[in-house]
Symmetry: D2
């Protein structure tokens, strides 16, 4: 593919936006033609992110100032806050030609049809289109979804599990960072019936960039450095998302225990997952199954026996590193899953989805080695 995709990034002034741009400027088949940000509209990208200067990127503009059809995007990455995301995407799809919208229009024709001008694919990095059940969304996010017709049609963008759907997808909802690390470890084991669906305990640890660039006291350097603590115990919004996908894999509703912790590092996410083995299954069997399932997955690396995933070995890359250990408690195993929360947990996975949606090789622009030190 010689042509470069015309790419827009909505919400480009946050850390997710920054990492999208970092990866896209080196992507051989992408060209960033639109960057939006509200509070920092009018600024150059280097004034917001000095490390992104020198790539000839467009200035940040307000969403309101985007001339939608004229900008002729092939794909939009939507890195906006949840709730905002759904409204923007809904509006966007009414402004440009979009296959989902066409379908909707076909279902209920309206005067909007004539406003469709081009075709654009949407990759959403917010939480807005991850939950297929609109009631669950309302329950966890405290408000009714404003684009339920889209919510139920969006593809859950975890390519290792839903490659074909992603390839055909027009609106792809990228998984949360915690769900990504958890699902890559658990889904194949549940699908294969190697572990019990009950009593799955996920102890998660994340670097601070996962909390975003918002001005909260709890994100200040001094509050975070030289310390750690859990947060959101029992009510973190990634729980229903994990349960949704584990339920699909297990073929029945799954309730998990999930506790995230904040760790004094910029990037990186590690989950230690405690599971019960089905009778006769060993930790070695889990590893063997992972190796089989992920044999051709370019971004999932299953450690040899004894090998220990670490966030340092995936830093800055789109990798997920998986390890499994026998527990001392009989009939149990301990899974360890490590990703970079901003890459495989967010921006890198979004680009992996883009590659698949446009028929590119899945690894295009994503083969940088992790950065250690």
């Amino acid at each position: 593919m010689d042509k470069k995709l015309r790419v827009g990034v909505l919400g480009a002034s946050g850390y997710t936006g920054a990492d999208l741009i970092r990866l896209l400027v080196c992507h051989p088949n992408a060209e960033i033609v639109l960057l939006t940000a509200e509070r920092k509209a009018g600024q150059s990208i280097e004034s917001v992110f000095p490390h992104l200067g020198g790539y000839g990127l467009p200035d940040l503009i307000s969403l309101d100032d985007v001339e939608w059809p004229a900008v002729e995007l092939d794909v939009v990455f939507c890195a906006l806050p949840h709730a905002t995301s759904q409204e923007v995407i809904k509006g966007l799809l009414h402004s440009v030609k979009h296959s989902i919208l066409e379908e909707l229009v076909a279902e209920s024709p309206s005067s909007l049809a004539d406003r469709i001008q081009g075709e654009v694919k949407v990759i959403d990095l917010s939480a807005d289109f991850r939950l297929r059940n609109t009631e669950t969304y309302g329950e966890w996010y405290g408000r009714a979804h404003q684009a339920t017709e889209l919510q139920t049609k969006a593809v859950y963008g975890l390519p290792e599990l839903y490659r074909e759907a992603v390839e055909k997808g027009a609106l792809v909802a990228c998984p949360g960072c915690y769900p990504t690390a958890a699902l890559l470890a658990l889904v194949p084991l549940l699908r294969a019936g190697l572990i019990e669906a009950e009593d799955i305990i996920i102890d998660a640890k994340s670097g601070v960039s996962g909390a975003g660039r918002s001005l909260k006291e709890s994100n200040l350097f001094v509050e975070v450095a030289e310390a750690m603590h859990p947060y959101g115990v029992g009510h973190h919004r990634h729980m229903p998302e994990i349960e949704q996908e584990l339920g699909v894999a297990a073929g029945k509703p799954v309730t998990i225990s999930f506790t995230p912790h904040l760790v004094p590092m910029n990037r990186g996410e590690l989950e230690t997952i405690y599971v019960r083995l089905k009778d006769g299954v060993s930790a070695d069997d889990l590893r063997a199954h992972w190796m089989d399932v992920y044999d051709l997955a370019p971004f999932v690396q299953v450690m040899e026996k004894g090998g220990m995933p670490s966030t340092r070995a995936v830093r800055g890359s789109n990798r997920c590193s998986l390890g499994v250990f026998e527990d001392r408690m009989p009939g149990r195993a301990i899974l360890v899953s490590a990703i970079d929360n901003l890459v495989k947990g967010s921006s890198g996975q979004a680009i992996q989805n883009m590659n698949l949606m446009f028929g590119l090789d899945e690894t295009t622009g994503l083969m940088q080695a992790p950065m250690f030190p």
Copy 2:
């Protein structure tokens, strides 16, 4: 008590030794008269630990050069590596008057009796006297114990659980840092029959000082900073120690799942503990019981409902902060326990033991506020 205890610190050049000294120089009833270190023998303490200059401390000397009776110690803190500790303490007790030794001598009189010159109490910070079962020791530490007669008589120095025994103790074995945080949370709940003894899962996170000052690649700044990972999965030596004490509390053998993680911070240890509740028991019941049990414990702080322990709130202090949360999985609760691994997890607890052994107020010299930032 006006008289100052004459104190010796064996193994004063490590981080545990440093924190013992940090606390002892401000202790109103203690005077450091002996500091030993092997590789750094002959150096001043400020050349090894510049922050400890200015307190008129003795130079470091080799253990071989200690003139045991002449130094007239009241108490020895033994911050030596395990295996070394047992041999040194055994030898020490043969050189000075010691109540355990007297008892042993009474049991099997020998020529050693006439070498007894004074009385010294021993507080060991190594792992050598924590396990009462000598076979378990051999199994986990890969060698037979060399002072089994002492091993079985040592007091397990967790004052909140064994206050009376500590007060009468002559040889006190300070718990490991991970066991301290785990046992303070779990033992009262098991004793009271509020939680099941099965399926206890301890996910532990520690700062790097817990790994000591030894020259290992894995302790280098660059290897640790901006990263995290589990270690010792399924075979960490604190496991049998935790299981020993949980077994006593539960009245039956207990097998736990325990996974420690290394976190890029100097100090601090946090354990997230997943437990099953007995029928009819709620998370609130656990909290209420803790509050009852620890009502008079000066160093254990039970958080109000919703309150979250963090290592930053105990940094540099002898505190343990406990919190409990309902799990989303029915019938389960999540306990959170935070300590400073070098203080309540090691040196502070050792001094707390000293206070009790010598009839001082338990809090003497230990009431510094935690240091945040």
Copy 3:
């Protein structure tokens, strides 16, 4: 002195306030009876600073709600933002009996006199009373001083240089953190004519707590960690303060070069100072003079030849560590000065001033050993 001083801390919810409280709760002659904070008025101190729970401290209240005479303070620490500080202190002195105010009243009697009820000493930690020249204040702080009559009478509270004035002081202005580290190194050398007053270059590095607890993007963990940069080059407000005191020491106006840098650590400040030696003077002469001048200063430690100050050796303590090295450029020396910005650079020094103002031993409550690790 058996009686405890009744102490108030205005602006208790910032890092400076937190460190004042941390030190005061262990001070044998102080009792905190008043804590104010505006945005967090009504909260308990443990809800704002969990590490300070358990000391029986009063809740935070708004300044407006303080019943000034009734609270019967002996001393007020004012840890408010500059500009606010001057107005609050001015108002405060009109509400309570104060020696400076009495003097002012004597100069221009007014109806305020009858409102004077008690005596309170004021220790200000803001920048408001550090500059004696009211025009300089206006120039650097962008507004006219609102309490010029107090500004010119305040004592500059660097006890090592102004001990006698501090002892008699009623309103003491604590130096900034950068000036403290710079002046302790430079003033004795200038006074003794050992270095030139020209071409003094101060390259300063500070931990992040120096930037306070305010919600600025540049203070977020992710912006600071794994990075460093200079700031305020050529226009940092500590410059005129340093120049004021160097000018006094040199007996003529002094202009310095001063460049601060932000370093990814919570606490600690280090200045590397490049000076020209007077003819015939060596680096060793500087060290010898320091040792002479600071022989009896309990908090200033002059390193032996070759010894290197480090922030880790002063962390959490009221110490200043000084070292001096020959420069390779002939006729030059390199001074290194390290403090904890929150202690000797702020709260500890404030308490040192309090001790002197009330005839206590200078070191009371300030002899904790530095915390390393």
Copy 4:
């Protein structure tokens, strides 16, 4: 260029080696065919650097086991310790065809000639070939150079200053990290006569990876984190290297003041440089000259007026960011230069040199965006 260069990395188990590999695996015109390491010989690269697994790299072997002509290298990166480097390179050049060697052989024909089998270019990352004066080398490195005939012929590999020589080079000595940041700032200004060659003061700050992966107490996490300090004051080995190149630029011997500091971060180097301006020259003139000189330099970014270089904006990239500020002291300016010590300060610059030596575009494989967060 379609053909891939056959590349060897000697000393592949250190941080410099790791970063060479990280960059080379994504270089479109390079193929790593040889990796050596002594202590870790026989291991796979992923066992030494887990983040570098998955690229099909050869295992680490000992230098002694390299079959030199057979391996058919086009270029060797030598990331060995100094002193070792010179001996290895000398030996290497006697084993393979090399233009410098040919020249030497031509000068003094010997039996070595017939051992020349192929052509290999050498890029040395040690300090061994940076100093042209063999006596200076001996003085600063404490031993006579063992390959003086090569030392005097090596090209100093700072491409922005010596592009043509590098293009023709057969043995290129990559500058040290501190010299790189210093020289990119200073050399153009000295060449143009805009600043004085006297009184140049360089205050340098570096992340910990600059200290290498060796097991020294001072490199342990706990010693470094939450602290900073200067080191090597007055005798750091990068001083003669900087002075050598400044002397060339100034046309006369230059003596500098240079003080490095260790900062608690993995990567990044920042130098704050204090200079005296020539009469009539302003800080703005310096900036304008930099912009002119570096207009076409792809890796040097001169900040607009007021723009502040930060290590975060160059992290992981081959960039050097330059800024200049007026000093408050008349006639002076403050230069700020930031690089990633492992990239532009070492491995990236080495690859930049390789690109030039083989006629590739200078930026090939080096255009990754910096990684922030």
